[in-house]
Symmetry: C2
Subunit: 103 residues, 2 copies
DNA sequence: TAGACAGGTTTATATTGCAGACTAGTCTAT
DNA sequence: ATAGACTAGTCTGCAATATAAACCTGTCTA
């Protein structure tokens, strides 16, 4: 019973940051997204988006492919299997928390 | 559509901190809890619990009543209406996020 | 009277999130 | 040729956090 109330206690901090959970939520449904698309969808500044993506990459949650559209840099991001797994686990914990606190 | 994916973007940061959402989740169901009970249930250290409670009190989310059990200090915490409202709003946002990211 | 316990506060450290400035290369219009 | 805008960052500086640990006051217990 009270274990459910604590379902958020050991939540994945990397994902629990709103900016990053929003990024992951987008990547979970679009298969692949470029930097500018994420920039517009998340409303983050370039600097912050860049840093958040780097952290997610470090954790192995997203794959970042730097390529070119003609001669203009193009950064493509997609979620890894591991990222999807972690994100689903996170969603599960949120769900448990929400349900265990139903009045 | 994509607005739902961003439902966490403007989440209440005060509540989004796991330690505090767990505290609120407990207070939401017990009507009133003393310091030691919260200490055991949350697994936090005294210092951290104290600080988190103070922040929740500052925000008007919990009421802290310092009294005595015999001659031993007793700190009673209960959630305010405002706290319940904020907590429910938070739960709603989590729920929206979880549902909008269903595969 | 030494120790542990209740219920904290204070301090120190370490990490973070964020905005904004700066960089580097490309393209566009004048 | 050059100013301006665009992509995709990095870096800097600041403010806010979270956390553990030390400290404190008072009470009770052996």
């Amino acid at each position: 019973m009270s274990g459910d109330l604590r379902s958020l206690a050991d939540v994945n901090r990397l994902i629990h940051e709103p900016s990053r959970s929003v990024i992951l939520a987008i990547l979970a449904v679009v298969e692949s997204a470029d930097f500018l698309y994420l920039l517009r969808e998340t409303g983050l500044t370039k600097g912050n988006l860049s840093v958040h993506l780097s952290k997610l990459e470090e954790a192995g949650y997203v794959n970042i492919e730097k390529t070119y559209r003609g001669k203009i840099p193009l950064t493509l991001c997609r979620m890894t299997d591991r990222g999807l797994q972690a994100f689903n686990e996170y969603r599960k914990q949120l769900k448990q928390f929400v349900e265990s606190t139903k009045e």
